[in-house]
């Protein structure tokens, strides 16, 4: 099963790349686009033999041990 993990900077932390993307889009005429923030997406294959609980536990441990720095980031498993 293909798992997608969305990682974003916590909302209270300034995400400067998003600000620049926003300025650039505005210069292209997308004036109504606002509050843009950039994050990252990690895709992982996991064996179908794992049940949902096992899968979710493994992903959580991997996120906490390496993939996500919870001081500055939060994550969401997309499926």
């Amino acid at each position: 099963m293909r798992i997608k993990i969305l990682i974003r900077l916590k909302s209270q932390i300034l995400e400067p790349q998003g600000k620049v993307i926003e300025q650039s889009l505005k210069s292209l005429g997308f004036e109504e686009f606002s509050n843009i923030r950039q994050g990252k997406l990690i895709e992982i294959d996991l064996p179908d033999s794992l049940n949902e609980k096992e899968r979710s536990e493994k992903i959580d441990v991997a996120c906490k041990r390496l993939l996500v720095n919870e001081i500055i980031e939060e994550y969401e498993v997309l499926g």
């Binding site: 900077l9 300034l14 400067p16 790349q17 720095n69 001081i71 500055i72």
Partner: protein
């Protein structure tokens, strides 16, 4: 007994050679260079995690290096009360390990900063005890993720426990407008609670020789040796 030290090299470290000569020239003791895959450290007084782009800064700066084989022994070394200094990427690695509080995020300007900067001592510790409170040090920085961040509770802890070692300032010493990268409270370097671990973004190993812009970087090693 002579002072012994070691520098850890990760794939992508690029200040390890500078750190080695810095230690050799200033401590006059034995200096070891340890590859990150090694499982044990020699018995040394000080370990430096050098600057650079360990593992290409993949995922987050310092994230991969914080899981390297040698890190178990680096943690033991620090837990035994010996000195551990993380410079630039080394500071990022120390926060990723969890030996120091907070995190280093992208510079507020989104620019890579490679220039001289000015710092001064905030609270006293063994890494800066030879530096006067009013003294301004001129030391280069070279980083993209040097913006120190932590939550308000952690910031209060760092302030109350006096764990902020260095703060950015202007050349004449004032704090206003001295913040080069957006760091909370102008933080350029912090220690752990036991004050035997220092992480700092500026590069003291690039400020000690005749051809360097200043020799202020010597004061870190001189403090440790004093």
């Amino acid at each position: 007994m002579s002072f012994k030290s070691a520098v850890i090299t990760f794939p992508g470290s690029n200040c390890d050679r500078d750190a080695l000569t810095y230690l050799k020239d200033l401590t006059h003791g034995e200096v070891f260079n340890i590859w990150h895959e090694e499982s044990s450290l020699p018995n040394v007084d000080l370990v430096i995690l050098p600057g650079g782009f360990s593992f290409g800064d993949y995922l987050r700066s310092g994230a991969m290096a914080s899981k390297s084989n040698i890190i178990h022994d680096v943690i033991d070394h620090a837990n035994n009360g010996r000195y551990l200094l993380g410079i630039c990427n080394g500071f990022q690695i120390l926060t990723e390990i969890g030996l120091l509080k907070g995190a280093l995020i992208q510079n507020k300007s989104i620019k890579f900063l490679g220039k001289d900067c000015y710092i001064k001592k905030k609270f006293d510790n063994k890494f800066n005890c030879n530096i006067k409170d009013t003294e301004v040090l001129q030391i280069p920085v070279a980083h993209n993720e040097g913006n120190f961040y932590c939550d308000q509770e952690t910031l209060s802890y760092l302030q109350n426990e006096e764990l902020i070692a260095f703060e950015y300032c202007r050349g004449e010493g004032s704090i206003d407008d001295g913040n080069i990268n957006g760091s909370l409270d102008n933080i350029a370097g912090i220690t752990n609670k036991n004050r035997n671990i220092l992480g700092m973004m500026p590069h003291p190993e690039r400020a000690y020789q005749d051809f360097h812009v200043s020799k202020d970087g010597k004061k870190i090693i001189e403090s440790i040796l004093s």
